[in-house]
Symmetry: C2
Subunit: 222 residues, 2 copies
DNA sequence: TGACATTGTCAACACTGTGTTGATAGGTTT
DNA sequence: AAACCTATCAACACAGTGTTGACAATGTCA
């Protein structure tokens, strides 16, 4: 047993054939734009990366483990996008809501096929479900902070525990963006999804639409 | 009504071996309680129903088609439950919301493993996605009627088109109940899910929690 | 009642995809 | 140059899908 970190679901690797690994992941994301994960074979991924099928197994123990690694990287990127967005928002809480939602939508847009594949896998694969849950949970934690802050200022409605409210709102957001982008019916048109979701957040937290029209609003500190 | 309608995805059948078909479906629902659809083979289904694998194909063209038939029947049952629930609610609109949500939760509870399998399949299988979408769309249509009625009475908030609001709320409900029952994280505890969702519906439609405490409320006609 | 269609059944096959083994070639270290 | 990694793949064993063709059992009506 080496002392390399137990790198979830992916075989431990050392520097060199790193290009190959990236080639495999790039192939995966490219092929996911054409068809579902179920219609992509290990052979497709291997050939796409210029290697034979058994060699694929040198890099990943399975197709799913590859997707997991991909999701890991996208999650990293998403955190970065979100971090910048929330920084832009500063202490203006409603702007935090808007920027938070924009960053989720952005990530969905940029990796739509992967997101679909992940949604697909997440009931069959514990590891993927856990990681996806962690991502959402990060959003939920941010949301709870915002709600608590608005509760303390006396501008948010009481009556629903902040975490439960945050969980429901974030799952709503995930699902609405998902159907808007995937064409699943019934869906909200893609260009309307952000506004509708934002207004519902506003009503659920404050009891009215403050955010929709860009009206001046509560700003923390100042 | 003839009894040999062009029955989506399932080979047309005439009376006799009907028991076999039901045995297959019963086996499917039973096995789904133990493991995911991906881990159930056609052979498992066939043996569970006391037939050989090729004979399975006499009844259904594939595993997925079987699940589709199952979903069809559950959808039928769900409509019946919902119909009775809404009848109980009469013209008391908030009670319509509550009863509508209760009936969704009820259906989820009674067929949880099937629901998981369906959620799993629905990104890979057009037919399942369509049928699932139709079910949700039925809920959405009911919801739109309720919102319009409350708008006309002047008690609901304007600002979000009724159908868009209804779509978002119904997908939220689907997702929140799904994670609550499946143990996916982050989730709202099963015994809290109904109340939280109901309050968010209330805030999103009216701007406050009328429904939570069981307070007396708008009753249409009467 | 006996020819005939219909319904139901399955052994055996062809095929696709997965994951493993064992052999091998090149590059580093010792 | 021997021991040792990293990387590679042909060949294999296996699991599951879907199809074919032959065969029984059950009407059915001439």
């Amino acid at each position: 047993m080496t002392d390399i970190a137990p790198d979830r679901g992916r075989r431990q690797r050392r520097p060199t054939g790193d290009d190959r690994e990236r080639a495999i992941l790039a192939t995966a994301e490219r092929l996911l734009e054409e068809r579902g994960l179920g219609d992509i074979s290990v052979d497709d991924l291997a050939r796409g990366a210029g290697i034979s099928r058994p060699t694929f197994y040198f890099y990943f123990p399975s197709k799913e483990a590859g997707i997991l690694t991909l999701l890991d990287r996208v999650a990293e990127e998403a955190r970065a996008i979100r971090g910048r967005a929330l920084e832009r928002a500063g202490r203006d809480v409603p702007e935090i809501w808007r920027q938070g939602l924009v960053s989720i939508l952005e990530t969905f847009r940029q990796h739509q096929p992967l997101m679909l594949a992940v949604a697909n896998m997440s009931s069959g694969n514990d590891e993927v479900r856990r990681l996806w849950g962690e991502i959402i949970d990060g959003f939920v934690a941010d949301t709870v902070l915002g709600i608590d802050s608005e509760l303390q200022r006396g501008v948010a409605l009481e009556g629903i525990p902040a975490r439960e409210l945050a969980i429901a709102l974030n799952w709503m957001t995930e699902r609405v963006f998902h159907v808007a982008l995937s064409g699943q019916e019934p869906a909200i048109a893609e260009h309307r999804a952000l506004e509708v979701v934002l207004r519902i957040w506003s009503r659920a937290i404050y009891g009215d639409d403050g955010l929709g029209a860009g009206a001046g609003w509560s700003t923390l500190g100042g």
